[in-house]
């Protein structure tokens, strides 16, 4: 009876928004670590350079998904604190702005000049902002967490859909988003071996192990909590426990997208866990690992967007 | 008048043969509505009369005996053919006929 209103554009948007949040999060983290180890600068830089694009693309998809895309500005004529979408659109626009300024602060002088010329913008904009990086990271950090969480809150706030209606969804989306950010960096670093620095990979692996573990320990209570909840929620879990999304959830998301990359990461980092030894670094495994994490993140959003809309009180 | 009565008598004897008689049901209905209905409607001086008012036999004998005593004789109002038509119409739709209808509708 309930029909699917939000389709792949929304799945993509939720995924891409989370990705940017994850990238910014890693960048801010790396910027902090850079104080101790300058090697982290590269990590901070690359993630800063990547961060704005997914969310910009995602927001465009969101606007495209609107029935009246040219009316999207109406969103910014209102602020409705009860509406996750209203809060979210403000968050998105502010976060995107911050990521852009932050990116600007990471660009070398000549790149800035070239860019301004090409965009026919006044050269006076060509300011050195590198000193503002910590400030921007500090301001942007809560926004990145906000954007990552909001994509889950958007769904979790809907009482009408028992599959969604718990804030565990928001946490799941948060850790999944941050983990996806790590995965993008692992991918980029592994695909371009000359950029590779084992310490950074190690950092990303360790961070991702932490995030995936957290995510797993939210998925678990989500299932348990659902089983202990009211009938409608129990019924809605049937969608993944013995329904159209069972394979997608257990195999594609939980198996391939969560546990397998976790195993790969643990396997890779085992030597470094108990000694100063370097991690294994199998580039192919790293690429596979990153791809699986991203795939898992995407599946998570696909499953939740679709299954959630079908779930209903009967 | 005698010829008319004789004709009606024959019809009385064999009701089934009415179609063979020369009366026209359709025209009878017309003359009935045109002439008789002036007085024979509810509230008018003749009182309501429809084919259902009498049985087939009653209608036939009515015309044989030339009733209509309280008003002008029927023969003064219409000619023989017209009366035959009316009779045909009334008998065909009388109360105990095979096609009992109020106004031939």
């Amino acid at each position: 009876m309930p029909h699917i209103e939000w389709g792949f554009l929304i799945v993509n948007y939720l995924f891409l928004g989370g990705l940017s949040a994850g990238l910014f999060f890693v960048s801010a983290f790396a910027l902090y670590l850079q104080q101790k180890d300058p090697a982290y600068e590269r990590l901070a830089r690359y993630s800063a350079l990547l961060a704005p694009w997914p969310v910009a693309l995602g927001s465009s998809l969101l606007i495209l998904d609107l029935g009246n895309w040219y009316r999207f500005y109406v969103l910014f004529l209102h602020f409705r604190w009860q509406s996750p979408m209203s809060i979210g659109s403000w968050l998105l626009v502010l976060f995107t702005g911050i990521t852009l300024v932050y990116l600007w602060s990471w660009l070398p002088q000549d790149h800035r000049t070239g860019l301004l010329r090409r965009l026919k913008l006044p050269p006076s904009l060509n300011r050195e902002l590198s000193h503002l990086r910590p400030l921007l990271a500090a301001i942007g950090f809560p926004f990145s967490i906000g954007v990552a969480i909001y994509t889950g809150v958007l769904l979790g706030a809907v009482q009408a859909r028992p599959f969604w209606n718990t804030n565990l969804v928001a946490q799941m989306f948060l850790f999944s988003a941050l983990s996806s950010g790590c995965a993008v960096l692992i991918l980029v670093l592994s695909l371009r071996p000359k950029l590779l620095e084992p310490a950074q990979i190690r950092f990303l692996y360790m961070l991702d192990i932490f995030l995936i573990t957290l995510e797993f320990f939210i998925v678990l209570p989500y299932l348990i909590h659902g089983q202990l909840s009211v009938q409608a929620v129990r019924d809605s879990l049937e969608l993944i426990l013995g329904g159209p999304f069972t394979v997608a959830f257990w195999l594609l998301f939980l198996g391939l997208g969560l546990l397998l990359p976790l195993l790969i990461e643990i396997f890779e980092t085992v030597p470094a866990l108990f000694s100063k030894a370097e991690i294994h670094h199998n580039r192919r495994l790293a690429v596979l690992n990153a791809a699986l994490v991203l795939f898992g993140g995407y599946m998570l959003r696909y499953i939740f967007v679709y299954a959630g809309q079908i779930s209903a009180f009967r | 008048m005698g010829g008319f009565s004789a004709l009606v008598l024959t019809t009385l004897l064999s009701l089934g043969a009415f179609a063979a008689a020369k009366g026209s049901e359709g025209k009878g209905r017309y003359y009935f509505r045109q002439t008789c209905k002036d007085c024979h409607t509810k509230g008018a001086k003749g009182g309501e009369v429809t084919p259902l008012t009498k049985t087939m036999a009653q209608w036939s004998s009515y015309f044989v005996k030339g009733r209509h005593t309280s008003a002008e004789p029927l023969a003064k109002l219409m000619n023989e053919q017209q009366l035959l038509d009316i009779q045909t119409f009334l008998v065909k739709h009388a109360a105990d006929s095979l096609q009992p209808e109020t106004c031939g509708k």
């Binding site: - | 179609a19 359709g26 409607t41 096609q99």
Partner: protein, 662 residues
């Protein structure tokens, strides 16, 4: 531009309600697939090639063809067929003035058996006072689903509020079954056994209204003797309704009398003994004394309308082609008997009929055994159809004369008879959107060219003025123009015939339980039960059903309604379907000796395993109706030819079909 249709709040018959198709009626006016101008066929019949012509040309063409046929075959060589409509009288009169005895109307496809059964018994066609009844037995007449009128709606209210007990018999679990207090999936064809057993119990237990029977009825003693053999145990076997239930229903029914009735109305054209079954219903109603009482069976009251005194024409000389006098001497002669008529036309017996004038009717969809109707179409030299849309029959016609829809035309004033009759006048709400005409104009156009103009020398206003002249109103025409309806004061009429001196319009003047006249014409004077033939193994009895979304076969292309049922399905019980290896939604072919239809199967518990059923009005042949063409299956193609011997009523539920995957 009509935005929305609202019912006339002053009309007590509508009481503010409109059903789905009432609400969707405005699309008839704005249907892009309407017939917008008169059409003359340009290609072969059914090829769909048409030439748009002026009305003058269409009239000339039609009149010339009619003259040709008259010259060759006499006026009886043209058949005039029409269906219930306010303006039907004009069309019928044109046929009569033309000199043809062959006027055929819809009752023998509808309720001729009920009308005749009650006429023979009570000398009147009654209404059933569902509004006030406390106990209603209804068989097959699916009043909550197939035909939605205000009296039904009161029944819903009183049934649901436990004021009325509704016992419903139907091989299908219809909406009415769902709402009834008791539903029995009676074995098809055994209804008469059920009724006779009710009569048996009521008489055996002395529960009949003795005073009423003595005063008003004749032949009760013969009935008492006659039904002795029809015990509830016997009927239990025949009907598959437990004897205990039959006894209980008989007791409850007679206890509730006179506010108890066996409903005989509507959709009554089932079996070859339909008349006798309806007679039994009438007799059951008679012996409990519910006649002309509140909550019982009440003779229709009429309001006498005046008539415009148009000139009379000569009675037709030839006998009717369906030879009503010989075949159905008791039936309403002026309505004809459609299926017998078709037989005789096909056999050119006793004379050829080569022209067919059709008004608002779709014989190809309406008559069982479509291939026979098709043959009748093919053997005609000329066919003209007056319709608002390109029906299946219009599609095969030579001339199509587009009538204005009911929202665009002035119709004759009409009495809606009933327990509380009203006078209604339909007035146009918009000017004709296309080059269409009302029926009278079309009739006059043809009549003039046939030199019959003098018989139709009046306007619709003159006609209506003559009609309303006698109403007790100061300015009746103005009143009806302003209000659309005239409701006589005083409310429902009961008891006008309940006077020992009253002469019932029967042969004896009494209520005829035993009918000498039936005996005289060689029929059973009391209903005699004969067990129905049962479908052979692997076959099913085909039942036809209707949904009130659609008006017979002619609104199934209305987009607002089509939404609810874009195609019809073959209802089949899952048990039977699994034997035949048929899955839900699968395309199947239903076939009988008459022909076949293809449609999708709907596996449903809502039907007896020995029956299948489909909705009427689908599987259109007219390609003009793009939304309805070839959607679902056409019941008319499958149903076999056959009729009730007394009334000539079509027997729609006597066809055995085979079902296989298509």
């Amino acid at each position: 531009m009509i935005r929305k249709l609202d019912p006339n709040p002053k009309n007590p018959k509508s009481r503010g309600m409109l059903c789905a198709r009432g609400n969707a009626g405005l699309l008839q006016v704005y249907d892009p697939k309407r017939i917008k101008k008169p059409l003359i066929r340009a290609g072969a019949r059914g090829e769909g090639k048409w030439r748009e012509v002026s009305w003058d040309e269409a009239f000339d063409y039609t009149a010339n063809k009619l003259k040709e046929i008259k010259l060759k075959h006499g006026p009886q060589g043209v058949l005039w067929s029409s269906t219930e409509a306010f303006a039907e009288v004009f069309f019928k009169n044109l046929g009569l003035a033309f000199g043809s005895p062959n006027i055929v109307r819809h009752p023998t496809l509808c309720l001729a058996s009920v009308n005749l059964a009650y006429s023979v018994t009570f000398g009147a066609v009654p209404s059933f006072d569902l509004q006030n009844a406390n106990y209603v037995i209804m068989a097959g007449a699916n009043r909550f689903e197939s035909f939605i009128t205000p009296d039904t709606m009161d029944l819903i209210d009183s049934t649901m509020n436990r004021k009325t007990r509704l016992v419903y018999l139907d091989p299908r679990f219809t909406v009415t079954a769902a709402k009834a207090d008791e539903w029995y999936p009676i074995k098809p064809g055994s209804d008469l056994a059920f009724i006779l057993a009710l009569v048996h119990v009521i008489i055996a237990e002395g529960r009949h209204d003795k005073e009423f029977v003595k005063t008003y009825c004749q032949g009760f003693d013969q009935l008492a003797e006659h039904v002795k053999k029809y015990s509830p145990e016997w009927a239990g076997n025949e009907t598959e309704i437990a004897a205990a239930n039959i006894v209980r229903i008989a007791r409850e029914f007679s206890d509730a009398a006179p506010r108890a009735l066996f409903y005989s109305g509507r959709r009554s054209s089932w079996y070859r003994n339909d008349f006798q079954m309806r007679r039994a219903q009438a007799i059951l109603n008679a012996i409990v004394g519910n006649w002309d009482k509140q909550g019982g069976v009440v003779p229709n009251s009429k309001i006498a309308l005046g008539e415009f005194l148009y000139l009379p024409w000569d009675d037709p000389e030839a006998p009717r082609i369906d030879e009503m006098d010989k075949n159905f001497p008791l039936a309403a002669k002026s309505d004809g008997a459609y299926l017998k008529l078709r037989e005789n036309v096909l056999a050119a017996n006793p004379y050829p009929v080569k022209g067919w004038m059709i008004c608002k009717q779709d014989p190809l969809s309406a008559l069982p055994d479509q291939s026979k109707t098709m043959r009748m179409v093919e053997q005609m030299d000329f066919i003209a159809t007056i319709d608002i849309q390109m029906s299946d029959t219009a599609w095969y016609a030579d001339v199509v004369l587009p009538e204005s829809t009911y929202l665009e035309r002035q119709d004759p004033v009409e009495v809606l008879a009933g327990i509380w009759p009203v006078v209604v006048m339909r007035q146009p709400v918009v000017k004709p959107v296309h080059d269409t005409k009302p029926c009278l104009d079309i009739v006059q156009g043809i009549a003039k060219r046939l030199d019959l103009g003098m018989y139709f020398d009046y306007t619709i206003d003159q006609w209506n003025e003559a009609a309303v002249k006698e109403l007790p109103l100061d300015a009746p025409m103005d009143y009806l123009r302003n209000h659309g309806v005239y409701t006589p004061p005083g409310g429902p009429n009961y008891g006008a015939t309940l006077n020992p001196d009253h002469r019932f319009v029967t042969q004896s003047g009494k209520i005829e339980i035993f009918s000498d006249r039936l005996k005289e014409f060689g029929h059973d004077p009391l209903p005699v039960y004969q067990p129905p033939e049962q479908p052979p193994a692997g076959s099913f009895r085909m039942l036809v059903g209707r949904k009130a979304y659609f008006t017979h076969a002619n609104s199934s292309s209305n987009p607002w309604l089509l939404d609810f049922a874009p195609e019809n399905f073959l209802w089949i019980n899952p048990k039977s379907a699994s034997h035949a290896g048929i899955a839900d939604g699968e395309l199947v072919e239903v076939s009988s000796s008459a022909g076949s239809a293809k449609l999708r199967a709907r596996l449903t518990e809502h039907i007896r395993p020995d029956c299948v059923s489909m909705l009427h009005g689908f599987g259109k042949r007219s390609q003009w109706l793009t939304r309805a063409y070839n959607r679902g299956g056409n019941d008319a193609a499958v149903l076999e030819n056959g009729w009730d011997g007394v009334s000539g009523n079509a027997a729609m539920h006597e066809t055995f079909v085979k079902v296989r995957k298509a």
